[in-house]
Symmetry: C2
Subunit: 302 residues, 2 copies
């Protein structure tokens, strides 16, 4: 069985959507990625950092889901990363109400010895310097390094970001960020520019409009499932990444065909995520829940 390391924040979110409010619920890219990936491969070796306010029950839940939390440092003198945001009526736009970096501000990722045999590395959205540190600290390079990022790092840490991008195999990025990073409006051209920065494989997420996979000049598209209700989009992109990397690890392959399947599994996981608040939508799923959802994706385009 191939090994997976995931890296990303484990945090609290306060979220307001047109459907309701949730205060200080479990969130963070590392959490969504690892929970989604845990349906495909176990253990998911998570590297993260939490503060003194973190709840034991959240850690226990993650462990029960198959996440190895040994790589989560707990800092007793600081609080966990906290984000508060509000979604507008169309659910495609949100406003950040508050960001408290807390423990993330000085995050020095430590890789436990037991994690060091890493085949697949999933770098969730974080400072590109921290992402690079994880790559540098692994004794051998993983077979595949996948990286997510966001607009903040493109605007304010571009040189660092470009360095890290040059060292990964797959960049997962959303459409607006791909345009911002490359200065190209056409996603086709943007993907080509990203290829020239390093990654041979580019995944461009388009939110409710699906996702594109660019693989050595070939393109694959997976739509988003039309849903009755999008309850809370928080974490959907991370959940996509978790399902995506999880499927690759399960198959221990990153051929074009496996990557295509991974796009569908990632999208299926994301579709569960948005149906409920926070991580709730991706807890307690069965294999047949996931397979039925995947079938819906296939029938949508067949």
């Amino acid at each position: 069985m191939a090994n997976l390391i995931t890296v990303g924040s484990v945090a609290f979110d306060s979220i307001e959507t047109p459907f309701g409010k949730a205060e200080r619920i479990l969130g963070g890219a590392g959490t969504f990625i690892s929970l989604a990936a845990s349906y495909f491969t176990k253990p998911v070796n998570l590297i993260s950092v939490i503060g003194n306010d973190f709840r034991e029950r959240d850690l226990t839940m993650m462990q029960e889901a198959g996440i190895n939390t040994y790589g989560i440092q707990q800092k007793t003198d600081e609080k966990s990363f906290f984000w508060a945001g509000k979604y507008f009526n169309d659910m495609n736009h949100r406003e950040t109400l508050e960001t408290q970096l807390n423990v993330l501000g000085s995050f020095d990722p430590i890789i436990p010895d037991s994690y060091k045999n890493c085949d697949y590395l999933m770098l969730g959205n974080l400072s590109p310097a921290v992402q690079q540190t994880v790559i540098d600290r692994l004794p051998t390079r993983p077979k595949l390094v996948v990286m997510d990022t966001m607009n903040f790092w493109i605007s304010s840490f571009l040189p660092d970001l470009k360095t890290t991008i040059s060292n990964v195999d797959v960049l997962i990025i959303n459409d607006e960020e791909a345009r911002q990073l490359t200065g190209q409006y056409s996603l086709l051209v943007a993907a080509r520019v990203i290829n020239s920065m390093g990654p041979n494989i580019v995944v461009i997420k388009k939110g409710e409009h699906g996702a594109l996979l660019f693989y050595y000049g070939q393109i694959y598209f997976v739509p988003a499932l039309p849903l009755e209700v999008v309850f809370d989009p928080t974490g959907a992109g991370d959940t996509f990444a978790g399902g995506f990397i999880g499927h690759l690890v399960k198959k221990d392959s990153f051929s074009f065909d496996t990557l295509k399947e991974a796009m569908v599994y990632g999208s299926a996981m994301a579709s569960f995520c948005v149906e409920k608040f926070g991580v709730e939508g991706i807890l307690g799923l069965t294999t047949s829940d996931i397979e039925n959802r995947v079938k819906q994706f296939h029938s949508l385009v067949s």
Copy 2:
């Protein structure tokens, strides 16, 4: 061979995009629809109205493409419909700079006797009262009536629009308009509300994000092809409708399978449309041009 009547404006457009400007070029929903449909079925029996400023060479070009222009009334005392618009950098938003209704203001659609044996009717975007008049004036109801509309009629002529919608089989509408018409953000729910207004089949166009077909509770999605350059989106929706109806007429079928194929042909035609100014992108295509484009759509999701 099944017969097709198309209805819609034949007009002049002045268009400004980030790539350039074009003054008083041939446009209009009826033009785009009929040119696109002419690749699938001939003749395309067009019903429209033009003014004294219309150019003989444009009429000749349309005739040579296989459009029967006998149903185009020419009014010698008025000018043709004119629209001027400007696209913003992202090409998804445009501003209308000028609309001169001219001959469209008093358009009384006359159906030539030679057109009256109509199997398929494609009502392009027009006043819903005019669309209804065409339905009323046909001696027998076509096998399939397809209708396109736009936000203006939803905002200002809702009762008329609802009457016409209740009399058609297929409504083609874009995502924003579907939301405006139904008050529902979820396109899944919006399509269901439209079903309850009359049409059993609903096509929701999402511009650069593809199009959805809702067919008696089943859903099919066709992505838009990622393109290097979107040069001018004007007429893309009409061109989609033309390719869509053209394929149905060619196959003389509106089964779910044929409708799915029609969605792909419509999208393929629209992808040619946006690559050049005005109708230029959909002139002079070969069957293999179209089939190759269709193959690209299939490979994108297979």
